[in-house]
Amino acid sequence: MAWRIGVDTGGTFTDVVAIDEASGKRYVRKTSSTPDDPSRAFTQGIAELLDEVGVDAADVSFISHGTTVATNAILESRYARLGLVVTRGYREMLEVGRQTVPGDFGDITWWLKPPRVVPLELVREVGGRLDFKGAELAPLDEDAVRGIAAEFKAMGIDAIAVSFLHSYRNPAHERRARELILEGHPACFVSVSSDVIREYREYERTLSTCLNTGLMPLVTSYLSKLQTRLADAQIDARLYVMKSSGGIIHASEMAPQPIAAVLSGPAAGIVTACYYGKAAGYPNLITIDIGGTSTDICLIDQGTPHMLTEGRIDIYNIKAPMIDMHTVGAGGGSIAWLSAGRSLRVGPQSAGAQPGPVCYGRGGTAPALTDAHLVLGRVSPYLLGGSIRLDAAAARRAIGEHIATPLGIGIEDAAMGILDLATNNIAQGINVVSVKRGRDPRDYALMAFGGAGGLNACLVAEALGIRTIVSPPSPGVTSAEGLLSTNVRSDRVITDVQREDTLDLARLIREYENLHAQVVADLAREGFRGADTAVTGFADMRYAGQAYEVRVPVTVLDATLTEAAVRNAIKAFHRAHDDRFGYEYEGRHPVEIVNIGATGFGLFPPLVTAQETRDGCSWEGARKDLRRGVFRGVGEVPLPIYERALAPIGIGMAGPCIIEQYDATLVVEPGWQAVLDATGQIVLRPTYREA
């Protein structure tokens, strides 16, 4: 027997999923997280699950981990105190940034610039300069680097970031600087910008490098602690960590590039969505992961999510490959409020987990989205198997006092208004990843997960005209599951801006071949070779004059590019531009190839999907309660509650009704019908047919 284990550490719970490779049978365990030392819940969760299922530690073949260690360190500014070494003349690079004030016009008067990752007194300049082609204009001042290493060592600075101008074209100066720093200060963590991301735009590259460097000590010690705890538990499976790109990487490879793991957990959820979407026959999906404070939205085409080369964590734009997820401030804890005493708004402020919605009874006084669901009878007054009891009367009072009374409307109407606005926020977020990218959301199925995903799914689908909703088997532990259905991934990219009319094809081919070889080497280090690997090419292009690029795939044959492949990629760019922005300039305006890159996958054997049988199950047998619920256009109606684990396969159940399970609630609105399929997923469709 061989078992794969996925562990996803969240703020409240650590989710563990184990799958038997042979049968595809899955087991799920939720255990309380231990934020003071997340590695404790990690090993405890695994031990409890193995014990429960009766699996021997020696039978664990693979462990994959989704972690928030890097994300939380950024959010809470808990990265190491570090020094920064830059090109002469650029000492104030982090201070100046991009001169950007976020928010609205006029906000400059009150906006406070957050503290920089490296304070100005810990930034040092050195001589040495490259031009934009990578040619040396002035040699690196090696003595200056040695002096800085000695000075930082004396000051007790044990992490140093290095970022030089144009290093994306030629990393020689940065690499030499690293050697010199490590000679003088061997215990120091050093990362250089050309290793973090080989792309132009010095501020963003430097900022990502600083965060990466600041995270290295913390992530290194966390991962080694995990390894130790696994060894103590007699588990000698390889430990992988999920990256923001949706691929995994061996823990030892993670330590020098922690920045690649900032969206570790959410990325794993998307991997699961891809997996279940394909299993249920819906490879084109829009996913909504509704949590306590926000909703993550992702669009998946043909089982593959869109990728970005940068994203935003808190106040920082981070340059690292990541799944294109859009986050909107609408979650169960999002607070409903009145702007100027008369306009209803929901979010972006959130009651979060503490104090939480009013109904949690933990001191929250502002009505939240969950309170509205409760008032309308959409959530059970008992959550997580009765471990949390909700106070519906308090929720009613809060909505009445803060919303309904000032607006002069009924409490149920106010609650429905809160739902409508939250729905609207989520629907608009979906437009961002679909319509704004030239995709029609009605061509996609909506997959809803996260604890609250199923509460809002039908409303969101109705707002967008989406006619299929998919609810995966365990909506509350999708991230942990995704850790088991992914592959090892390596992305390599380099910036070399070339116009198509003056293209040095030989150079482009040479660059690609280098990247390809690096990716193959990355995979070989992880133990993947030949048929167990897949490498694809990509290019980022724009029309000359534009400043943003569109990524298109480049066909690779025998590890090399051909002229035809490049021409085809340029054609694909024209089509993609037209698709996304409504026009293209093929033959009329030159294209610039900005970045060229390679992505490699180390492929694990595919998982078997367990087939559900559910012999003897019926909806009558699954019915466990009858409440009253309020729905728009229908009013107050009896609302049957069904237990998901007991639902029958292939038999429809019309709304209004609620399907509950341990970690999630699915609301089937009037006009919708739910059917459980043999892969354990519930598919919802409208019962009416439009002409």
Binding site: G89, Q99, T109, Y168, S343, I409, K436, V497, A547
Partner: protein, 670 residues
């Protein structure tokens, strides 16, 4: 002008200001064009407007804002011109059929010119209108590089409104590359003027017109890319509104437009106005020059008359229109939204739209520099836009007893143009932020731009694209106006040009300074220095169209520091120490401006320590010697002009109302 009343605080019974004087020939009409509705649908929509439920209205309001966001985002990704893309100098908006703005605006254009040129029955689905003609724009477009695209929105077979988007294109012809002439004296020197035309009629582009427009740009590919991006964005907005009509019904959506406008009016009156003290307050500011006469500053003056029902901003006292291109060819309605946008700070989440103009009213005498008439030049009217904010802030500083931010000058352009090594024309033009004004609760911000989401250009991008090398990008030390809270620092950027060419500056506050507030001192002026520190050093003041530069010349670009706030001799000494350690404030400024004596120490983590005793003594001496602190401190250049009688201000002796204990509490919290 009742100068005697300047700054007087309101008496117990609030004075109600009479609007009648502004409706006479002494003032231009607040709105240049007006449209009324008497169509068959109007009674139904009006009736529905009062019945629409508040939640539907909220959903509509946010959906419309989201449509605007979506349209603007598409422009950001695809537009070509630097000013559109990096400076975010473009705005989308949605207008009713009678040309009232529904979505958030501070300086968005409207569809008024389309209605002036086309009868309703001449407007069809698929039409795309284009214009940039400042004198035919009804106060919606202020200079020719701003091309405005308007598409009509139809639902249920009727026209229900317009989606519009304007953006600042790189070049639309005229005497100077970049179409930002600083010496034009009529609009004809500034570029092609396109009155409202149909670029597309029923979905078909007028190719002949299109050729003419593109032919008039030095960079036709850029212009084509921009306008295509604008058209794409307006169509996105149009589609979103059509979808809302399908979902909620056309009547509901249209009624919603008008109710959303009413709601803005109600919110401004009921929620924002109470935050502003009733009374009458004067504010003034100066443009350094119109670009033609370097000896004559241009005065902007406004009097804010606030009562419980409204705000009137009266621009009497503002200088007449001038020969140079700083004229702003607008109307009071536009300024109402431009200045009124700032009340939003009092009401988080509110949408500022046409409703603002019913409560916050701006009135201009005719033919001032802010109400200029044909054929005034206007390419550089940004100078007026920024100084108008200064005048307004000065008035509000008095209204609030000094609880107002220091002045700032956070948008300027510098650039180089010529032929690159391959003989091709290039224009490297970059927008620079500067130091923002100090606040009553915190220092100003260093090197930021006034326009949200604006971005500077990465050196790695500049060097790829243009024949220049960027040797230094940082902050201008000592530029922030000293104060209990310091003004933000401006930029210091050294750029070497690698070919012979020209250097251009669109810079303000190069001899004047950003004023300090409530005891704070003025910031340092910006400007440029060619070959600093060399025998060929050349100082550049004012805005300049084309200064010849040679390959190898290094140009130092400096942008102004923000005004300080509060008494600099009260600044917490350790804040001065940290600024000195970071190289932002010199030891000399620490001593002379802040009265802080620092001594160098060996600890590399500190570098300086405050000599407490010497600091106390020095501060006492400086306090005894100096004149009383001013509410508005305009800096040495303005003070000299005032003493020489070349400019006049009403507030030269207006005293600061600085409260040291309140400051120390705020500094402790900061």
């Amino acid at each position: 002008m009742a100068q005697g009343n300047t700054g007087s605080r309101a008496a117990a019974a609030p004075q109600i200001f009479d609007e009648a004087p502004y409706l006479t020939a002494a003032y231009a009409p607040m709105r240049k064009s007006c449209f009324t509705r008497d169509d068959e649908h109007w009674p139904r929509i009006q009736a529905l407007k009062d019945r629409i439920d508040s939640v539907t209205l909220d959903v509509l309001e946010w959906a419309l804002e989201a449509a605007i966001d979506e349209g603007e985002a598409a422009v950001e990704r695809t537009a070509v011109s630097t000013i559109v893309r990096e400076q975010h100098d473009y705005r989308a908006s949605l207008n009713t059929v009678d040309c009232n703005s529904v979505t958030r605006v501070s300086w968005a254009a409207t569809a008024d010119p389309i209605r002036n040129y086309y009868r309703l029955e001449e407007i069809h689905e698929g039409d795309v209108f284009l214009y940039n003609d400042i004198h035919e724009s009804s106060g919606t477009i202020g200079h020719l590089p701003d091309f405005c695209v308007v598409v009509p929105i139809f639902s249920d077979g009727r026209l229900i409104g317009f989606a519009q988007l304007f953006g600042h294109c790189n070049d639309v012809g005229g005497k100077m590359a970049g179409s930002w002439s600083l010496t034009a004296t009529t609009v004809f020197e500034e570029g092609i003027q396109v009155p409202p035309i149909k670029l597309y009629a029923r979905g078909v582009r007028n190719e002949d017109l299109w050729k003419v427009i593109l032919r008039n740009s030095r960079y036709p590919d850029d212009l084509r890319g921009d306008i295509d991006a604008f058209v794409g964005a307006t169509r996105i907005i149009q589609r979103r509104v059509e979808e809302l009509c399908r979902r909620y019904g056309t009547d509901v959506v249209e009624a919603g437009f008008y109710r959303i406008i009413d709601r803005c009016e109600e919110i401004v009156r009921d929620e924002a106005l109470p935050h502003i003290p009733d009374g009458e307050y004067v504010g003034e500011d100066f443009l350094e020059t119109d670009g033609i006469d370097l000896e004559r500053p241009i005065k902007l003056m406004l009097t804010v008359r606030k009562d419980p029902q409204k705000i009137i901003v009266d621009f009497a006292g503002t200088d007449p229109q001038v020969p140079g291109p700083v004229n702003w060819v607008m109307d009071g309605r536009h300024y109402s939204k431009w200045l009124g946008g700032f009340v939003k700070a009092q009401v988080p989440g509110m949408i500022v739209n046409e409703g603002m103009t019913r409560v916050f009213k701006a009135y201009l005498p005719p033919r001032t520099v802010l109400s200029a008439e044909y054929p005034a030049a206007g390419a550089d009217r940004m100078d007026c836009m920024l100084r108008m904010l200064g005048a307004y802030m000065a008035a509000m500083a008095k209204a609030t007893g000094g609880q107002m931010v220091g002045d700032s000058q956070c948008i300027q352009l510098y650039g180089f143009f010529g032929k690159d090594q391959d003989g091709k024309d290039f224009l490297y033009r970059e927008i620079f932020g500067a130091g923002s004004g100090a606040r009553p609760f915190a220092d100003g911000t260093d090197t930021v731009d006034l326009v949200p989401h604006s971005k500077n250009l990465p050196s790695e991008f500049i060097e790829q694209r243009f024949p220049v090398r960027v040797h230094r990008v940082g902050m201008f030390p000592d530029s922030g106006g000293p104060g209990a809270f310091r003004g933000g620092l401006g930029y210091l950027k050294d750029v070497e040009i690698l070919v012979d060419g020209h250097f251009l500056t669109v810079s303000y506050r190069t001899i004047f300074a950003c004023f300090g507030v409530n005891g704070g001192m003025a910031g340092r002026s910006g400007g440029a220095v060619i070959n600093p520190g060399s025998p060929r050093e050349q100082q550049i003041f004012y805005k300049r169209e084309a200064i010849p530069v040679k390959a190898g010349d290094v140009v130092r670009i400096l942008t102004p520091g923000g005004g300080g706030w509060g008494d600099p001799l009260a600044r917490v000494p350790d804040m001065v120490r940290l600024d000195a350690q970071r190289g932002l404030v010199s030891l000399r400024s620490a001593r002379e401006d802040y009265g802080v004596v620092l001594e160098e120490v060996s600890d590399p983590a500190r570098r300086y320590e405050v000599d407490e005793a010497a600091t106390r003594t020095l501060r006492a001496t400086l306090k005894a010697q100096r004149p009383p602190l001013k509410m508005i401190n305009r800096g040495p250049h303005a003070e000299r002009l005032i003493r020489e009688g070349r400019i006049t201000v009403s507030d030269f002796d207006y005293p600061a109302q600085f409260d040291e204990a309140a400051y120390l509490a705020a500094a402790g919290a900061a």
